[in-house]
Amino acid sequence: MLSRVADSLYWMSRYLERTEHTARLLDVHINLMLERGEEADARWPRVLRSIGVKTDAVLPKVHALLFDQYNPASLVSSVTLARENARQVREQISSEMWMQLNRTFHEIRQASQDPANEANPLTLLRHLRERCHLFRGLTDSTMSHADGWHFIQAGAALERSLLLATLMQEFSGDFVEQALSENTDYFEWVGFLRSCVAFEAYLRSSPLGIQPKKIAEFILFDPYFPHSMRFCADQLARSIDALSGASVLQRDARIQRLSGRLGAQLSFADAEDAWQNGLPEFLQVIKSNCFLLHKAIFDNFITYQIDSVLEV
């Protein structure tokens, strides 16, 4: 497939993952606010930092995160960028996928005109998440699982790893505290789990209930849960194998080494390894590896030197 197309598919997928994550985070946060309004302002900075918004600014309102097209972290920005990328490759994705995404774009633009959505954004946030899930489903069921699909998978897995790592870093100070106070921390941890769609899956796998360290372990190392970092690394490795496996190029060795390393860090480590040098540092290493992989994807498939492939 064309390198430019791979580029667009990859970024389309990353922006959609970001849309879904931001929508979910806002949803969880607003829900928590409803029950415990007095602490709302205290909680905003963490939410904002975990989606990459600088917090020294005046606290943004819901509007800024939903509809402000000049705020790169807003939902409308993510959806627009995902759609712009899709628009450049609309003949490469299935019609169903394109229509779904194009429709979502028109819906959020229209929703931004209605002040009711700002006063109560929960319905819209839920709707957006459903749209994202639907898009992923359509991607799996209507598009050939060939190279283009693998670039979409790789984009989603990489973005999700980065978002999860950033979110965990924001909570990392709390993971060490063992004793939970029923009233406050419990809600925070349920909120964290819900932000990773992990509430139900975690409880099923951990009969002891809410325990910060167990939660961290689950999100880092669980091999079966789609929002665990281990799972994302595996998915990334599968897609990179599929993309580079069939090619005969020498340079593929490097990208496979990188994805292997990320996989090993998450498959062969356990909680003790993660805590040994401090959780934030561990997460930072994972993030650096993700950035290296991102660069390797571009070096390998998209912006490679031409003389490396033309016969002399």
Partner: protein, 487 residues
């Protein structure tokens, strides 16, 4: 009670105007034409609300599919849905047979003409077409002199604009021989009609058009350079900011070929490659939707970032085929247009099956005086423009505009032609819960490769503003589905 004439008691038709123009649905006496009877009956049985509902549904579906175009000059990236009218334009099998023959004749002659003027130039030697007319045309590309064009197919895709004059005959208004667009709207109009009027469509026994993309692909493949039995065909687009980007993406998808931009291609040793995730891949046939001027910055406009450096050399070397060829615009220059009847006669020894519209050349003193003396009755067009730009429609113009055109014509007579104001035929359109008549034209698409293929019908364009004669999408035009009845 069902009626068969345009009757004042029909609420839906109360504002339907029958003028001097030929009306596709009604005869001059108001009697409905036989091939429109089924539609007329249907409209009498359907409440206006119901038609409106179907129209809204179709519009929404166009929006979600992103069947939109960009209007130049408005806020960048403004996308509009292409206005689409639900009432079909119907053509009988007999009418179509003649049109189809006429188009084949015309495109065959025009391809021979292009091969001649870029080759030996016999038609110029014999004085059938004046030499200075060709050499003064900005679309004449001397870089094409002596280039071997695959199968001598210069114009691979044509979108000829036909109009129906008040006597009911079709006439050619323009040959669009460069990069004609609109075919995706033809195909999508049909899809919309299948949803809006499934039964009427089924009862009417019409010719299918869905095979257009496959016919186009077969045509392009038949033009591959020698020794490339499994050619790689691509569609070259200027990118998402082009007004026809939707169409480029749509056609690439329908043909299953790559949609490439200039930056995806590279020329190495006179061979064109595209940059793929698995390395560079050779390209054999390029269906290009980028204008001549922008296609190769080394040979044409150096400021173009849409093209491919070195493409022209690869083309001259015969390592890649371009459809359409470079320099076809010389044959759709509006002044050269006036000579097409002679061109047909010269190469084929036949009279044109479809006539031209009477055209006045401003380089001719008598013609120019005639036109300037009655600018308010004439349509003046710049010879190299398309899309309804650079045009004066006399009866709808102001004195200042006429003065401006008079000045321009006198300053550069070669750049203008004039025609009498034509009464384009009218057809029923659904407008504000009423059926009203609007002016229309017809753009059939002709594919020229190993053989000539014309998909029955074409794009019927509609001037949606009441009384307007301009059907271009950039100027308030829309489209409707075109039905050619089977025998």
């Amino acid at each position: 009670m069902l009626r068969t004439t345009l009757d004042p008691s029909l609420q839906l038709f109360k504002d339907y105007g029958l003028g001097v123009a030929y009306d596709e649905m009604f005869g001059a006496d108001g009697e409905v034409r036989p091939h429109y009877r089924a539609l007329f009956e249907l409209l009498q049985n359907l409440p206006a609300d119901e038609i409106s509902r179907r129209q809204t549904e179709a519009d929404l579906s166009f929006l979600h599919q992103g069947i939109t175009f960009t209007v130049y000059g408005s806020e960048e990236g403004t996308e509009k849905i292409f206005p689409h009218d639900l009432l079909p334009r119907i053509i009988t099998a007999k009418e179509w047979a003649k049109v189809s023959l006429g188009l084949e004749q015309r495109i065959t002659a025009l391809n021979m003409f292009l091969a001649d003027i870029y080759g030996e130039g016999r038609i110029l030697d014999e004085g059938v077409v004046p030499r200075e007319l060709i050499y003064s045309c900005p679309q004449f590309r001397r870089q094409m002199r002596g280039v071997q064009v695959a199968r001598r197919a210069y114009v691979t895709v044509t979108g000829t604009d036909l109009i129906r004059t008040p006597d009911g005959e079709f006439a050619v208004l323009e040959d669009n021989l460069r990069v004609p667009s609109g075919v995706s709207y033809m195909l999508n109009s049909r899809t919309a009609m299948k949803r809006a009027f499934p039964q009427l469509l089924q009862q009417s026994h019409i010719e299918p058009i869905d095979h257009y993309a496959q016919a186009l692909l077969a045509t392009l493949r038949s033009l591959a350079p020698e020794g490339r039995p499994e050619p790689t065909v691509v569609l070259l687009t200027p990118g998402i900011y082009n007004s026809a980007y939707f169409e480029h993406a749509y056609l690439a998808r329908q043909m299953g070929i790559e949609l490439v931009e200039g930056r995806d291609l590279i020329v190495h040793d006179n061979v064109v490659y595209m940059r793929t995730t698995r390395g560079m891949k050779r390209v054999d046939v390029i269906y290009r939707r980028v204008d001549d001027d922008f296609i190769d910055p080394i040979v044409f406009r150096p400021d173009s970032s849409l093209g491919v450096s070195g493409l022209m050399n690869a083309y001259r070397a015969g390592n890649v085929t371009l459809g359409n060829a470079i320099g076809t615009g010389v044959a759709d220059d509006k002044a050269v247009y006036a000579y097409v009847p002679q061109i047909i006669k010269h190469y084929l020894g036949e009279d044109p099956i479809i006539n031209n519209v009477e055209t006045f050349l401003m380089t001719d003193d008598i013609h120019r005086q005639h036109v300037l003396s009655q600018l308010d009755k004439m349509v003046v067009k710049a010879v190299g423009e398309s899309g309804g730009y650079g045009m004066l429609i006399g009866p709808h113009s102001t004195a200042t505009e006429r003065e401006e055109f008079r000045r321009r014509i006198e300053a550069n007579p070669r750049n203008y032609i004039a025609q009498n104001t034509l009464q384009l035929s009218t057809a029923p359109c659904f407008i504000d819960s009423q059926v009203e008549s609007r002016h229309i034209d017809l753009r059939p698409y002709i594919l020229y490769g190993e053989k000539v293929t014309i998909v029955p019908g074409g794009l019927t364009r509609v001037a949606l503003r009441k009384g307007s004669l301009v059907v271009n999408s950039s100027q308030g035009g829309g489209c409707k589905d075109t039905w050619v009845l089977r025998q």
